[in-house]
């Protein structure tokens, strides 16, 4: 109903057309002026609870990760990375269809794409948290019915989902390719499913570790360029340290070397959990010896520690 309709309706239900000339005010002094009320209308609809609010923040952040609802410029990088990984997956499908050989398992695909994941996190994590810090928008969130932990946890969930989708989507392409070209019928499709499952679980591991570290680093600064540099530095500078440790003349040091760098930490944990999916040829892959559970433990502690640091960071930011 348009404004003029409401006006007409309000006049129509007025006392009498022949009443006092001042429409909208009644003689008993009460604000009977329906006409005056059309300016501002109070909201009487439903107000959703905290769960929905966090859901809205999560959905908004996930869209932001892929540049949705933003300028075309913000879409270039994430979709370039998505394009590369999907194209790589499509290439693997094509090769497999042609020569009938599986070059990479689903889980190994994630390992191969590790540097792309690092760059994705380095660009998207600052987009999610540094931007809000830099523009000073946080007080607007914290003055709304959110709890302090909700903001960092929603951001973590959104980035982890984005990384998982980045690694999961190409695996899905590989799965469809494998399932449609299989010669073994339904049992062949089922074989693909059992191969895909550890691949996706491994992607979850990647997403958890890389998102936690990326956000913890990015939340330190409101400048996106610094945040991106810091994230790349953390991921890439730790690798040489692990490299040095892995050539020391001590088997224990070699087997523990992977703990130093995030990528090899994830690989070590992956080998402990899904050895068959990651090591398809004997003698390849990271040698973790009997330290597999330790890799798993360090992974869990690292994710928890980064999230705790993130929450502590926002606890401080909310008070300012």
């Amino acid at each position: 109903m348009s404004t003029s309709d409401q006006l007409t309706a309000a006049r129509g239900t007025g006392p009498t057309p022949a009443g006092p000339a001042v429409a909208g005010t009644t003689s008993n002094g009460a604000p009977g002026g329906v006409i005056h009320d059309i300016g501002y209308q109070r909201y009487t609809g439903v107000r959703l609870g905290r769960r929905h609010v966090v859901g809205a923040l999560y959905a908004h952040s996930l869209r932001t990760a892929f540049g949705l609802g933003r300028s075309a410029k913000a879409k270039i990088f994430p979709w370039f990375i998505v394009g590369v990984v999907v194209a790589a997956a499509a290439g693997l499908v094509a090769v497999r269809a042609q020569i009938g050989q599986v070059l990479l398992s689903y889980a190994q695909f994630a390992d191969t794409m590790s540097w792309l994941v690092i760059f994705f996190v380095a660009v998207v994590a600052p987009e999610l948290v540094s931007r809000d810090l830099g523009s000073g928008v946080l007080p607007l969130y914290f003055s709304r019915p959110l709890r302090l932990v909700d903001y960092p946890l929603a951001k973590f969930a959104a980035l982890a989902t984005a990384v998982f989708m980045l690694l999961g989507a190409p695996q899905l392409v590989m799965f469809l390719g494998g399932a449609f070209t299989t010669d073994a019928g339904w049992s062949g499709v089922w074989d693909e499913v059992t191969d895909l499952a550890p691949g996706l679980a491994y992607a979850v591991l990647w997403a958890g570790v890389f998102s936690a570290i990326g956000l913890a680093v990015a939340s330190v600064t409101g400048k996106r360029a610094f945040a991106a540099g810091g994230i790349v530095a953390v991921f890439l500078m730790t690798t040489p340290i692990g490299g040095v440790l892995s050539v020391l003349p001590s088997v224990t040091a070699n087997q523990l070397a992977g703990l130093v760098a995030p990528s090899s930490l994830v690989q070590g944990t992956g080998i402990w959990l899904f050895r068959d999916a990651l090591i398809t040829e004997a003698g390849t892959g990271l040698d973790t010896g009997g330290f597999g559970p330790l890799y798993g433990l360090v992974t869990v502690v690292l994710i928890a520690g980064c999230i705790a640091a993130l929450i502590a960071r926002y606890r401080k930011a909310a008070r300012r």
Binding site: L57, R131, P145
Partner: protein, 307 residues
Amino acid sequence: MTLIATDALTKTYGGRVTALADLTVEVQPGIVGLVGANGAGKSTLIKILLGLLAPTSGQARVLGLDPTTDADAVRARVGYMPENDCLPPDLSAAEFVTHLGRISGLPRAAARERASEALRHVGLYEERYRQIGGYSTGMKQRVKLAQALVHDPDLLLLDEPTNGLDPAGRDAMLALVHRIGAEFGISVLVCSHLLGEVERICDSLIAIDGGRLLRSAQLSDMTTASDVLAIEVSEGTEALAARLAAADLPVSREGQLLLVPAETGSDVYDRILTAVVELDLPLHRLDQRRHRVAELFATTEDSRVNV
């Protein structure tokens, strides 16, 4: 219902810096001015009222709720406009205010609808689809006000809403705040370090200094007698004062200004202008202003010094 009530509210940072000291005040619904110099504790009070800071001792109640234990419920019914920049440059005002409406608990469609309503009420129409980065300071202040209004709060907390605005922008913003309080039926707490600014729109005033309450008062009983006309001429001030006194106008002197109570008579403007014309003086300005409130606070401060 009492809008805001504090009882011996005290906040110290690290045991050394005292931001609020033993503040006890009770505020009724309406437009309330919170006046104090920078660092007087205005922002600290707002953060406590929002439940973002816990008081060191004492109690606060907002809309009958305790913000330290019921922060969610308080924040759902309160809108907050911070003092500093708080807008992302690369989003449009429509998108941004819609998003914050959802964070305040509005469903998606309602958030979109109320966001454009709120932006319309603050005076942003087609511009709302442009990126905020290209907005003027005045437009940004309006977006900040719109995001505080989007979820239809019962109380607005505005921290220095006229910050960075030119005189025309200040007047427009104050008129808008007054409209929200008077027509929308939303209570407003306006923080400012400029008494002259908030006294124009407020029903009551709270003045704090160094975290202590200077004075809390309703303005209704004093506004009727508060209007004065200020006259400034670039020369011949004495002659004009004498002429006005001879014309039975109770004139007083304040620096370069001559002050005449506005309620002296309906023809007071004419009589002043006649006097100026007859003396052939260059008139700089002749305007109406409120005066008593500033005096009221000034005398309170004086008496405090004497104690």
